[in-house]
Amino acid sequence: METARGLLRLWPLHLAVLVIGVVSQVIGVRAIPIGFGTILLLPMLFAFAIALLLNPNVIGAMRRIVPARLAAAASPLIVIAIMPFIARFGADIGPGIELVIRSGPALVLQEIGNLGTILLAFPLAVWVLRMGRESIGAVHSIAREPNIAIVADRYGLRSAEGTGVLGVYVMGTLFGTFIFAIIASVLSTAGLFSIEALAMACGVGSGSMMAACSGALAAGAPEASETITALAGSSNLVTYATGMYVSLFVALPLVEWMYRRSRPDDPGNARISLFGRPRSEEAAS
C-alpha cells in the first residue's frame, strides 16, 4: 500500500508514532491495585490507546486532522515494527537456552492448554448467551490470522462460524493487548502460578499480545525479566509451529462435535460434515 512513494508521504505517520511513543514512555509503567492483585499499565498500552483515539476510523472527528490514508498505510508497518522486538526477544532465548530445553516438555504440552478457551468460553457462548453456530468460530481458538484462514477454508467467512471468528479476531485486535496485560498482571500478583508457567502462557497469541503479557510480568518481577522473555519467546515460537494444527485437527472438530451434542436441532448443523469440506460453494469467499 503506497510503499513506493511512502517515504515522503508517510513521514507524518512516523512522526506521530514517534511523538506518541515518547509521550507513552515518559508516562511509564503505572500500577493500579485492585484488591486481589495489581494491574500494570505499560507504555505500549498507552501508545496503542493514544493512536486509537487519533485514528479517524475510530473517532470520526479526527478525520479533520488525520487523513484516513495514513491509517490505511499503518497496517503493513505493524509487522515490520514488531521485527526488532522479536529479534530482541530471540536474544534472550539464546542465552537462556538451557532453561528453555529444561522446560521443553512444558513448552510443547502447554500448546494443548489453548483448548482451555473451549472449556471456559463454550459454555458461556452456548448456554449463557444462547449464541448459535457463531460460537464454533468464536470459541475454538484465540482467533489470530491462521485460525481465521482455517475457518474461512471450512465454513467461509460469510457463514455464522466466520462471523464468530472474525468477531473475536477484531475484539482481540482492539482489546487483546489490554486483556492479556490485565490477566497476566493479576495472575502474577495473585501468586497461584510460577512466573515460568505464566511466561510460557504469554506465547499463545500474537506478537503484541505476547509483548503486553510478558511486559506486565516483567514489570512486576524485573529480576526475572530474562527468564520471562526467554520462555514467552520460545513458547510463541512453538505456537507458530504447532498452533495451527491444534486448531485444525483438535479444537475445531471438538467444538463442532460439542455444539452438535448441545444443539442437535440447529438446522445449520447439516450444512457441513463433521470433518469434511464445506458442502456449499459460498464457503469459497
Binding site: 512516523h14 506521530a16 508514532v17 506518541i20 511513543g21 515518547v22 515518559v26 505500549m44 498500552l45 501508545a47 493514544i50 493512536a51 485514528n55 491509517a71 508497518l77 505493524i78 515490520i80 515494527a81 514488531i82 521485527m83 526488532p84 522486538f85 530471540g90 536474544a91 534472550d92 532465548i93 542465552p95 537456552i97 512444558a106 502447554q110 489453548n114 482451555g116 478457551t117 458461556l124 457462548a125 448459535g132 460460537s135 484465540i142 482467533a143 484462514a149 462471523t163 468477531g167 473475536v168 479476531y169 477484531v170 475484539m171 485486535t173 486483556i179 492479556f180 497476566a184 495472575l187 510460577s194 508457567a197 510460557m200 502462557a201 504469554c202 497469541g205 503484541s208 513458547s235 515460537l237
Partner: protein
C-alpha cells in the same frame, strides 16, 4: 444470537486485512527502508527507557536490524514456509547461543536494549491501523462477542498456564 439480530448486509469481508500474505513475495527494499524508519523511531524511546548512550542505542538497534535482515532473507529464500518473525527469532537465537563463538560479541551489544520500549512503536502503528471495516465488524458483533472474546483469551491463557505449571512440577524443571 438469532438470524434476526444479524444486520441484513454483512460488510464486504474481502476488504478485511486478515489474510496472511505470502511473505516469500515480500519486496525486500521497501521493507528494509521501513524497518530502518521504525528503528529510528525507537532511538528516542530507548533513550528514555534505558541508561544507554545514544551511540550504544544506535549500535544495539543496528544489530537487531541486521538480525531482521537475515531473517527476511531466509523467509524469502528457504523453501520452508515459516512467518518472517519466526525466522528472525531463530536468527537472534543462533547469534546469541552461549556455546557459539560469536555470542560473546553479539549479546553485549543488544542486551541493554529495553524490550518493553521496543514494543511501543508497533502498538502505536497498530492503533492507527484499525480500519473502518474492523470497526464495522466490531459494531456488528456486539457486546456478546466481546464477553466471549474475553473468556476466549482468559481460557487460552489460564489453560496454558495450568498445563505449563503441572508439567514443570512433574518434570522437576522448576527447582
Amino acid at each position: 444470537m438469532t438470524a434476526a439480530d444479524r444486520s441484513p448486509e454483512p460488510p464486504d469481508l474481502a476488504d478485511l486485512d486478515y489474510a496472511e500474505a505470502d511473505e516469500r513475495t515480500l519486496r525486500l527494499l521497501p521493507t528494509l527502508r521501513d524497518l530502518g524508519l521504525v528503528s529510528l523511531v525507537s532511538v528516542p524511546i530507548q533513550a528514555i527507557a534505558t541508561e544507554l548512550s545514544v551511540l550504544s542505542i544506535v549500535v544495539g538497534l543496528l544489530v537487531l536490524y541486521g538480525m531482521c535482515v537475515i531473517g527476511l532473507l531466509l523467509t524469502k529464500h528457504v523453501p520452508l514456509r515459516l512467518p518472517s518473525v519466526a525466522w528472525i527469532s531463530l536468527v537472534a537465537i543462533a547469534l546469541t547461543l552461549p556455546m557459539l563463538p560469536w555470542s560473546g560479541a553479539v549479546l553485549p551489544l543488544v542486551e541493554g536494549i529495553d524490550f518493553l520500549a521496543l514494543a511501543v512503536p508497533p502498538l502505536a502503528y497498530a492503533g492507527f491501523a484499525i480500519s473502518g471495516m474492523e470497526m464495522a465488524v466490531m459494531r456488528r458483533s456486539g457486546w456478546k462477542l466481546l464477553i466471549v472474546a474475553i473468556f476466549v483469551f482468559a481460557g487460552t491463557y489460564i489453560g496454558s498456564a495450568v498445563i505449563a505449571e503441572l508439567t514443570l512440577r512433574l518434570t522437576g524443571a522448576r527447582l
